[in-house]
Amino acid sequence: MVMAETNVVRADGIFQPVLPKGDVVDMAKKRREPDAEKAKFACRDVRVFYGASEALHGIDMEIANSGVTALIGPSGCGKSTFLRVFNRMNDTIPNARVTGDILMDGEDIYGKKVDPVLLRARVGMVFQKPNPFPKSIYDNVAYGPRIHGLAVSNSELDYIVEKSLKRAGLWDEVKDRLKESGTGLSGGQQQRLVIARAIAVSPEVILMDEPASALDPIATAKLEELIDELKEKYCILIVTHSMAQAARVSQRTAFFHLGDLVEYDDTQSIFTNPKDQRTQDYITGRTG
């Protein structure tokens, strides 16, 4: 799929990939590079229902093509529900129903022709608790490229694994023990392994649901440094309960309250001069 322009199928029917130097294909180069001028997502009147109960009340929002957008708000405000809209994770929740338009690069991700599994390869997700597969470090990262058929040879797979682990800032720590179990790593390393796994399938978007809440300050700092590096190439959405973290890592911040998008602005404006009283009360820790 990815190499359609350069690969050929020989007369005898054998698929013949044309590989660049080094016998590998840089999958990241094949993905759509972010255009900072354009919005990655455009949401119009997005509502999410759990049964009869409406959890999100018509969200209109555009998400930048690159950079980090933080979603903040008190528990139950709908921020995680909103995050899960972008890779259709709400599809997996019984009775959950999403209405409204969610366009990714202008295409409706809830369209009939969209395969949620393929969508999730483009829109990766990292959860609060690191969830490496009970497999080796190598296989954790290789899993996605294998099931999506992104590597045509072992050497290419090796290359993808190495590049993904390097990008996730984990390579130096694990390069000598790639066959060891991913679950044996520390919490911070596991979280970076999960990010490497997400990156391995060359996503365009990475969703993060409180990715640092189980990490110590050093592991958190490494994760934030990683987010800072990734933000140039990916559209990143992060849900966090840490105001300081939202302020540190994001360029745009959206404040949710009781299922409404209350305020969405440059992070600097939100944290120095929020316009809405509810935002101010929340971020300054006042009774709401």
């Binding site: 120095t272 009360d281 300054t284 820790g285």
Partner: protein, 234 residues
């Protein structure tokens, strides 16, 4: 404004603004005292004013420490951040006003043996305007009154006008009788001190405006002091 959920956060913020009010009150008292010493030629009062400036400096140090602690321990954002940073800036401005009051008292001592000069009445009037501006700006801070802060910001012009008048009077006084030179030259510094008091009060008004609105006063600050280009024809 609503209270912080964490009571101790409320307490440190309210202690900070309380300390700043106390500093404002003390600086006002110092300025009134310095002008009184000048008016009544009271060497003893002038000495006390100079000595008391250490109290103003001590409160400034205390506020700096409180601000450091709030930044390190509370990581304030939004209005709390603006309050905290403004406290640091306002304390610095008040400390400078305190220095100007001290300097005025110091110069008072130098002219005690000289004859009274023309223009003193204008200097004292100018001093009363300066005191009023300091009182108003401290009240604007205490009452969180943005309109009052803007009024102070605009009132600085009046002091600048006085300064221009006084400066011309003092130069003329020196030319008419050179035995006035000591007192008149000291008084040019005093009038400049009072003009600077107005400038510092204006800066405080700008900080208050930023705390309360999150916006800077976008117009240019009024500047009517023309002493730097004043020439008296002989």
């Amino acid at each position: 404004m609503k209270e912080h959920i964490v009571t101790s956060y409320n307490d440190v913020m309210s202690d900070l603004s309380g300390e700043l009010s106390r500093m404002g009150g003390l600086v006002r008292k110092q300025l009134i005292g310095a002008l009184k010493a000048l008016e009544t030629r009271d060497a003893d009062l002038a000495r006390r004013i100079r000595k008391n400036d250490k109290q103003v400096d001590a409160i400034n140090d205390d506020i700096e420490e409180r601000v450091m602690n709030i930044l390190a321990l509370r990581q304030p954002v939004a209005v709390d951040l603006r309050e905290t940073i403004a406290a640091l800036k306002i304390a610095r401005e008040l400390e400078r006003i305190g220095d100007l009051a001290r300097n005025t008292a110091k110069r008072t001592k130098v002219i005690l043996d000289d004859e009274p000069i023309d223009g003193m009445e204008e200097i004292l009037k100018m001093g009363r305007v300066a005191v009023k501006i300091v009182e108003d700006v401290v009240a604007a801070y205490e009452q969180r009154d943005v309109e009052k802060a803007i009024a102070v910001w605009n009132a600085d012009e009046e002091i600048d006008e006085y300064c221009n008048t006084v400066f011309t009077q003092l130069l003329s006084g020196m030319m008419v009788d050179n035995s006035n030179i000591n007192a008149c030259s000291q008084m040019t510094f005093v009038s400049k001190n009072l003009e600077r008091v107005g400038d510092h009060a204006t800066n405080i008004a700008e900080s208050i405006h930023y705390v309360l609105t999150g916006e800077k006063i976008d117009e240019r600050r009024p500047k009517s002091d023309k002493t730097s280009s004043t020439i008296v024809q002989i």
